[in-house]
């Protein structure tokens, strides 16, 4: 009897510990909604998300929605900022290391024609092929906030 109680106790503690992590939840495409624009998230090549240090999940259908949302957020409180890798649909990569491309050849859900690449090489290649401007995370946020 005592053993079972102890086991339940251990399991409960484990559960509490698990539910406290600030790891990003996977986006459920077709089911989740963009926190910023309320649209359903369906586009695996343009989705984005961030997680606060308390573990609260925010998901977005496009990178421009994420950037617009983050304008009013304290950067200290964020554990993860992720954007979809255009060259590998479905993969989410840290925004800080990604390269961003604004090009009219690649349309994004909210009309800014903005997409992200894991490798800067790919972004540059695409920008040469289709015309466009490559940004880093820092220059991108600056560009959007000045708009």
């Amino acid at each position: 009897m005592k053993k079972t109680i102890r086991l339940i106790g251990v399991l409960l503690i484990a559960l509490i510990l698990i539910s406290c992590t600030s790891e990003p939840e996977p986006i459920e495409f077709g089911k989740d909604y963009c926190h910023y624009c309320k649209m359903n998230i369906v586009d695996k090549t343009h989705a984005a998300q961030y997680v606060t240090s308390k573990g609260k999940q925010f998901k977005f259908d496009s990178i421009e929605c994420l950037v617009n949302e983050l304008k009013s957020k304290d950067k200290q409180e964020l554990a993860h900022i992720l954007v979809a890798n255009y060259s590998n649909p479905g993969e989410l990569i840290p925004a800080a290391n990604a390269s961003f491309l604004i090009s009219s050849a690649i349309k994004s859900p909210m009309g800014m024609n903005l997409s992200a690449f894991k490798e800067e090489k790919m972004a540059l290649e695409m920008s040469q092929k289709h015309d466009g401007v490559v940004y880093s995370w820092q220059t991108l946020t600056q560009f959007i906030s000045e708009k």
Binding site: F29, V42, T45, K107
Partner: protein, 413 residues
């Protein structure tokens, strides 16, 4: 005299059709076996008739003003290679053809029929199955897309395309189409002065109909059933929506109609039935809602920030869990002469208008707005008490948000 004139007309007509418009037949028993061959031979004004049969062709290119007519069961199978037909011309028509198996790509928008930089065209009575994008139109004017059937199988959400997608268009007409199993049934991006009517858009992943940056459009008599969400109208001005039906859009945050950054719209005589949220409005200003019916929705109307000068009158709010949800204490919207099934007032002077005002925002809906988990308490005694006390002395809900002339009977059928 009259008969003679008539005969001359007939004669001229025969002359014209004989001399100018040639007919080309494509089929297994005809001299031409491939559609592209026939298109290459045809001149402006000619007609290509495609006989019953299966044609394994893709990347057909149409650059002349010709008419493609499919006989019954004339099917073009793209074998998942790429798109099937690309058209860049004016004065052409495509009718009665079937298309199937369009290639899927993340990087290019492959479509069964792609129309680019074209004017004055008709796409009618076509059947498009297993498509990525169905009909994709860009930078075009004066097109009519009618009576088509567009469908796909939505196995992988992200690899789905839209049924009828118009990007940058003017004076387009989309009517009597059926669309299902797609990402968005119909998607308008930068489209103006266009009409969408009598379509049936159902079981799509995202929206039945989607407007983005599209001004001065009209949509009416459409039915939107069972989509991820019914219709989204975003960043657009002067949109008129009437006599549409929005049904069965269930999901954690699904809605019949999403309005986001919309100005000067008219919304009348629509039916919103059994949606999680009937209308979800955010940043919408100067909108008139009248004669709509809201039946058995979770929330009939949810109003988030920055909605000004909206006017609700003569609507029926029937058996919704929440009539109106509001997330701020400010109110700049008016409610007048609506019918509310939850209204429990009286009408002593028998003029059909209740003698005490109705407050559509309940305290509990305000609480749920702030912490959605509280929803489990719905229909409990505690919640009824909370709602009652707020009704008597409003503290949290906007105090002047009320219908001063609530109707005693419903008005719309």
């Amino acid at each position: 005299m009259r008969i003679r004139l008539f005969l001359i007309c007939i004669y001229l007509l025969i002359l014209v059709t004989n001399c100018y418009a040639k007919l080309f037949f494509v089929g297994a028993n005809e001299s031409l076996h491939s559609i592209q061959e026939a298109i290459n031979l045809a001149q402006n004004g000619d007609t290509v008739i495609i006989r019953n049969g299966i044609y394994k062709e893709h990347d057909l290119f149409l650059s002349k003003s010709i008419h493609l007519i499919g006989e019954k069961n004339a099917l073009i199978d793209g074998e998942k290679f790429s798109g099937i037909l690309v058209s860049e011309t004016s004065n052409f028509s495509i009718s009665g053809l079937s298309f199937t198996n369009i290639g899927v790509s993340y990087t290019s928008d492959l479509a069964a029929i792609k129309v680019s930089k074209s004017t004055d065209f008709i796409i009618e009575d076509c059947r498009l199955e297993n498509v990525f994008f169905g009909i994709l139109i860009e930078k075009s004017k004066r097109g009519s897309i009618r009576n088509n059937h567009v469908s796909s199988v939505r196995i992988n959400e992200a690899s789905s395309g839209n049924g009828i997608h118009i990007w940058s268009g003017d004076d387009m007409e989309v009517h009597d189409n059926e669309l299902f199993g797609l990402r968005d049934g119909i998607y308008f991006e930068f489209v103006k002065n266009s009409r969408v009517y009598s379509n049936f858009s159902h079981d799509n992943l995202r929206y039945g109909l989607h407007f983005m940056f599209s001004n001065s459009n009209l949509y009416h008599h459409n039915t939107f059933n069972n989509n991820g969400s019914g219709v989204a109208v975003m960043f657009s001005k002067f949109i008129t929506m009437h006599d549409n039906t929005f049904q069965f859009n269930w999901g954690s945050a699904s809605y019949g109609l999403l309005l986001k950054e919309i100005y000067d719209a008219e919304i009348y005589s629509n039916t919103f039935e059994q949606n999680t949220i009937g209308i979800n409005a955010e940043g919408s200003t100067r909108i008139n809602y009248r004669n709509n019916r809201f039946i058995r929705n979770g929330w009939a109307v949810k109003i988030a920030g920055a909605c000004y000068a909206n006017n609700f009158s003569k609507n029926d709010f029937m058996s919704n869990s929440f009539d109106v949800a509001y997330n701020s204490k400010e109110n700049d919207n008016s409610f007048d002469k609506n019918y509310w099934t939850d209204y429990s007032g009286y009408d002593l002077d028998k003029n059909g208008i209740g003698d005490i005002p109705y407050r559509p925002v309940k305290l509990f809906s305000f609480i749920v707005n702030n912490s959605p988990e509280a929803l489990v308490l719905l229909r409990s005694l505690f919640v009824e008490l909370v709602n009652f006390s707020e009704k008597v002395t409003p503290v949290f809900t906007p105090s002047h948000l009320m219908d001063t002339n609530p109707l005693m009977r419903k008005i719309n059928d």
